[in-house]
């Protein structure tokens, strides 16, 4: 409070002299309380950043150590830097195949849910028909209910159609559970697109299919990118669905593989390889994030300001 008044006084004096008329110029004058607040804020934020970075660095460091080195001291550097742990994690523990399973399942589900989600969102946004409101609320309900409630019957639904413990079954389930969010988000997006364009296209004789694929879908590209990113993160991290519906170790996805790797018989865990597996899981996504962080942070804001 006080520093503001000081500034105002300074400013008014300045302009009275006629020397400084541009009062609103981004001045560099800092008051004492500015300095205190600034120092405290920077300190707090720096502490938080250290808290974020140090555990990640420690994991990277540990991933090069042998299990006995890890038990000897949490800080000591590894005796020799080599990639044995990474090789063990990738092949022996099967992280490699879990990784490819994850890629297959997540991208398959992403394709399905983006395609059908955008189509349904478009129909719900553009046309009113009996029940369209009901469908909209049905989507909302699917978004709020915890997956946990559905997990037991879902097990038997998948078994009934013979897709239990298969990757295609997992793809369908992932896609279905990402569907309401996709529709909900894109619904708002399609509504905000100008109607006159699709009407003009209809006048020119374009059918509904063509209007959607050639005009509306390209126009919705920013919204699609946003939903795709958010869905990707959500599905990549999904663990409950695979743990319950995909129990064949050969079909494990990455998150599930990590969990079972870590819980394997307490003491016999190869800790070095576990740390290496963590690095393998995190680093690719971290690199993608650092490259695309501007778009991603834009997406986050869009995604939650629907």
């Amino acid at each position: 409070m006080s520093q503001t008044t000081t500034n105002l006084r300074e400013q008014s004096v300045g302009s009275a002299d006629g020397t400084r008329i541009d009062v609103a110029e981004p001045g560099q004058r800092t008051t004492t309380s500015d300095k205190i607040v600034g120092t405290v804020s920077h300190t707090v934020l720096i502490i938080w950043c250290v808290l974020v970075i140090v555990p990640l660095l420690w994991v990277i460091l540990s991933s090069f150590k042998t299990s006995s080195e890890i038990f000897a001291s949490p800080f000591a550097l590894p005796a020799n830097w080599n990639f044995t742990n990474y090789r063990n994690a990738w092949t022996t523990a099967g992280i490699g195949s879990f990784f490819f399973n994850s890629v297959f399942v997540v991208f398959g589900a992403l394709f399905l849910t983006m395609l059908f989600g955008s189509m349904s969102a478009y129909v719900l946004a553009r046309f009113q028909f009996p029940g369209s409101r009901l469908l909209y609320y049905l989507m909302l309900a699917g978004l709020t209910f915890p997956i946990f409630l559905a997990i037991v019957p879902l097990f038997f639904v998948l078994r009934g159609i013979g897709l239990l413990n298969t990757l295609p079954g997992l793809i369908l389930t992932y896609a279905a559970f990402a569907f309401p969010f996709t529709v909900f988000f894109l619904h708002a997006f399609f509504r905000s697109l100008s109607r006159s364009i699709s009407e003009a296209a209809a006048m020119d004789g374009a059918g509904e299919w063509r209007i959607f694929f050639q005009i509306m879908l390209p126009m919705a590209r920013p919204g699609l990118a946003t939903v795709a990113i958010l869905n990707f993160v959500g599905l990549w991290n999904q663990i409950l669905l695979p743990v319950a519906l995909n129990t064949n170790p050969q079909n494990y996805v990455l998150t599930q593989g990590m969990a079972s790797f870590a819980s394997q018989a307490g003491y016999s865990v190869d800790f070095g390889a576990l740390f290496a597996a963590v690095v393998i899981t995190v680093v690719p996504v971290l690199i993608v994030y650092l490259i695309f962080q501007r778009q991603l942070q834009g997406s986050v804001s869009q995604g939650t300001n629907k």
Binding site: F116, T144, P153, P180, E208, R294
Partner: protein, 334 residues
């Protein structure tokens, strides 16, 4: 700075004006019919089969004594729910879940809000409204944990908390805290819950910080300038300007975060797979999973699921109510 689209701080009005023309029954061409079939009917059927029907079935199974392995099931009415009330382990789990749902959103969103306002408007009190220096560095680094899958966050922290080889005890003994030698953070009833909650907060602050930064950037800077001219200090600005203007974002965040805290299965699966010392970190989701897939009591597990769903809905309703009573809008962000 970023490609942040300005969030609708005041709710956009006039959405309805753009609303669609009524669907006309005439001119039903092949194009239109096939369009509707593929665009709406097929995906909605899939959605009904994989999402809606399991929810409905769960509600029904919760009224039976189904074991899941035999085809027989007997309708038992509300017996499962009555059993829930007497189940001490389940009551313990409910207590833990509710604690998480109260503490986690408040702490996480509190920290995220403070950081977000420092980064956006916490800069010097003269000149242009701006954040601290290096603010984008803080923003990027804080967001790191969000790209780490939740299960991996759990694994990393269970390694950090490890009594003998963990980072935490390593640091503490190094700086002379001798009680920390071989202290089992996750195995001691006094610290287990705190340790678990810290790991979850660590993983999520960055995401909500970025969310709030975007919301605050959507507030026109004239508003902050006006507050400053009227003599409002930093704290006053945050309480009277920033929070009221982004209250809808805070509400959404509270609901997301609360749903996550009521679930919390992923984190617990990595940190405390057994429910923690004396079940002090056992959550509803874990108990449900054990009841269904280990004990084979599917009917009973479904009753737990319905209970969890009701708690979640009640929680969301409570947040809406509080927001409305304190003067916010009552809209689901559409």
């Amino acid at each position: 700075m970023t490609a942040v689209t300005s969030p609708p701080v005041g709710r956009p009005t006039g959405f309805r004006v753009l609303a669609s023309p009524r669907w006309r029954r005439r001119n039903l061409t092949f194009d239109k019919i096939s369009f509707f079939l593929v665009f709406l009917v097929v995906p909605v059927i899939g959605y009904l089969a994989f999402v809606v029907s399991p929810f409905v079935q769960a509600a029904y199974f919760s009224l039976t004594n189904w074991t899941g392995f035999s085809p027989e099931m007997k309708f038992v009415g509300l017996a499962n729910y009555a059993k829930l009330l007497d189940d001490d382990t389940f009551r313990k789990a409910v207590g833990n879940s509710v604690t998480l749902a109260i503490v986690l959103p408040t702490v996480t969103l509190g920290i995220a809000l403070i950081f977000a306002s420092l980064v956006t408007v916490g800069g010097p009190s003269s000149g242009r409204i701006r954040g601290l220096r290096h603010s984008s560095l803080y923003r990027v680094v804080s967001f790191f944990p969000y790209v780490v899958p939740a299960i991996v966050i759990g694994l990393i922290w269970s390694a950090i908390y490890d009594p003998n080889s963990g980072l935490l005890n390593g640091v503490l003994t190094r700086i002379g805290v001798d009680q920390a030698r071989s202290f089992a953070w996750l195995g001691d009833i006094r610290t287990a819950k705190l340790a678990v909650m810290f790991a979850i907060v660590w993983g999520l602050v960055g995401f909500y910080m970025v969310l709030f930064i975007a919301a605050i950037k959507g507030i026109p800077s004239e508003v902050f300038e006006a507050a400053r001219v009227d003599g409002a200090g930093r704290f006053r600005t945050a309480v009277s300007i920033t929070i009221p203007l982004i209250r809808d974002n805070v509400q959404t965040a509270y609901i997301y975060m609360g749903i996550l805290a009521l679930d919390a299965f992923v984190y617990m699966a990595a940190l405390e797979p057994g429910g923690g010392p004396a079940n002090s970190t056992l959550v509803i989701a874990q108990q449900l999973f054990t009841t269904a897939f280990v004990k084979g009591q599917f009917g009973y597990a479904c009753a737990m699921g319905v209970f969890l769903a009701l708690v979640t809905l009640a929680y969301a309703g409570l947040i809406f109510l509080v927001n409305k009573l304190t003067g916010g809008t009552n809209e689901v962000g559409e």
